[in-house]
Point group: C2
Chain length 303, copies 2
């Protein structure tokens, strides 16, 4: 599958940036994965300097892990998948970075996740973890739906489930909604019996804090708690709709990625649950395939 123009001993690095960590993998076409490294947060929407630092830390650790000298970084073709680089301004800012790689190819984290999931081929992915969104790449055309962020989007995600659970518990305590096992669980978790006691502890908290409550919602839904069932069913309905919307673009495969993809599966529209396939490779391998494809295209253009 690899074009002849690509040198057979060329080394690549795939970098998958995320809100909590950054993963780097060094790859040789001849020998496969040589080493991996883990850095800190690398979401350029939440800090450019920090992102660059995390990319460099994960890169250096991956070089070490591969038994390579630091200078080898100049021989690496790098593929980067980062959030927010669909915005031209942010894309340009990162491309202007005086990076140490032989060449750098940049795309969104959704794109590299999708390339990884389908091992370089076309397909669609739904990501459900702290947030949620859908992405598909078919015949060189990409689409994406959702992923509009907490609290205005990301339905069916962990943060959304946690927020809905808090809203329901507050209504229940005020006797303006049902009190169920789920609200009891939250009161115990927050070690309070008052609405203000919960509200204060969650005020101004980021989406990740709400996402930590999703496990209570999922567990209560298993036990047929009416409030939890309503939350999980409506979240799963949104994810199913997102899947149907992606399938309108005729992707050959559909995968789900993220911490909620397994627990949500049983609640999905059976038609969707049936066609969801496991991702073939992780997003950092997607970033490597992206770099390889980009080098190929470049060579083809040059011929």
């Amino acid at each position: 599958m690899m074009a002849k123009q690509v040198e057979q001993d060329q080394l690549y690095i795939g970098i998958d940036g995320g809100g909590t960590k950054c993963r780097a993998t060094i790859y040789s076409i001849k020998n496969g994965v040589l080493g991996t490294g883990l850095g800190g947060p690398a979401n350029p929407l939440h800090g450019f300097e920090r992102t660059i630092e995390s990319i460099m830390v994960s890169t250096q650790l991956a070089l070490q892990d591969a038994g390579l000298r630091i200078e080898a970084v100049h021989n690496l073709y790098a593929g980067l998948g980062l959030a927010g680089v669909n915005l031209p301004a942010l894309h340009d800012k990162i491309m202007r970075w005086d990076h140490p790689f032989k060449q750098m190819f940049l795309t969104t984290d959704l794109h590299t996740a999708c390339i990884g999931a389908h091992e370089g081929g076309d397909g669609a992915v739904i990501i459900t973890g702290t947030g949620s969104c859908g992405f598909a790449m078919v015949d060189g055309v990409s689409v994406n739906y959702g992923g509009h962020g907490f609290a205005q989007g990301d339905m069916g995600s962990g943060a959304w489930m946690g927020l809905e659970a808090v809203k329901a518990a507050l209504l229940g305590i005020d006797k303006l909604g049902p009190e169920t096992v789920l609200s009891e669980t939250l009161k115990q978790h927050f070690n309070t019996t008052t609405a203000m006691g919960i509200a204060e502890q969650m005020a101004g908290k980021p989406s990740s804090s709400y996402a930590q409550l999703a496990r209570f919602v999922l567990a209560a839904a298993e036990d047929k708690d009416q409030v939890a069932l309503q939350i999980v069913e409506s979240g799963a309905k949104y994810i199913s709709n997102l899947a149907h919307r992606l399938m309108e673009n005729n992707p050959p495969r559909l995968s789900m990625i993220g911490g909620l993809s397994e627990p949500l599966r049983k609640w999905l529209d059976p038609e969707i649950a049936k066609i969801v396939e496991s991702p073939k490779q992780p997003p950092e391998m997607g970033a490597i395939f992206f770099a390889i494809q980009s080098v190929e295209q470049q060579s083809e253009k040059a011929v």
Copy 2:
């Protein structure tokens, strides 16, 4: 109604702190309102120093307006209604402030709004502006419901309506929900046709930014826009439930206060709309009544 112990020429100042401004009114039992002053934000939950500064600015302007010298501040009994002082720690912090008044009496902004609305008598209030909440004072016992803050509470408020409208518009643009006149209006307002264009402009924005969108929702609901109708009807249903919950405490009167109280009225449960009465006095007058009542109680105890 005023106890004999209170000197007839005693001056009072009522201070109503809010998230955007602070209102002070100087009042004489013999001659009524003598002067008013307006200061900046005075919500101690959002900044203690700023709150103290705004209280002092509004006080000085009120003294000037009343034709009094700055030193007259030491003769004023002050009634303060501030958000968040139901929390003992915040109450104590403000009471430890080295204030310039003859004596300072502190309670929540909900309490002074309620006292004002019912001219010192028992009653209930619903506040619907940027946020929403309900409060009642009956026979010396207060209750409050809602008011848990954006985005986990405050249903039926302006911020809640704006958030629901943004959520619906984003779903509509993704073709995962209906597109109506309301979503068209929002696209025009944000000068974009993409979901990401809206999402980015609202990301991380405070509740006041969402509340500015409420007017579009209310206008669209008037024109029978299906999405807007659903938002306004469900917000009004919550406010009606809040009113019923307050009435369980048998308050002799119920008033609604805040920018959304008028526009929401026609959407309320008719049973509630029928019993809502106009507030008799503004919250800063409630703060004055609160100071007068507190001085009276003090005198009674001393007798």
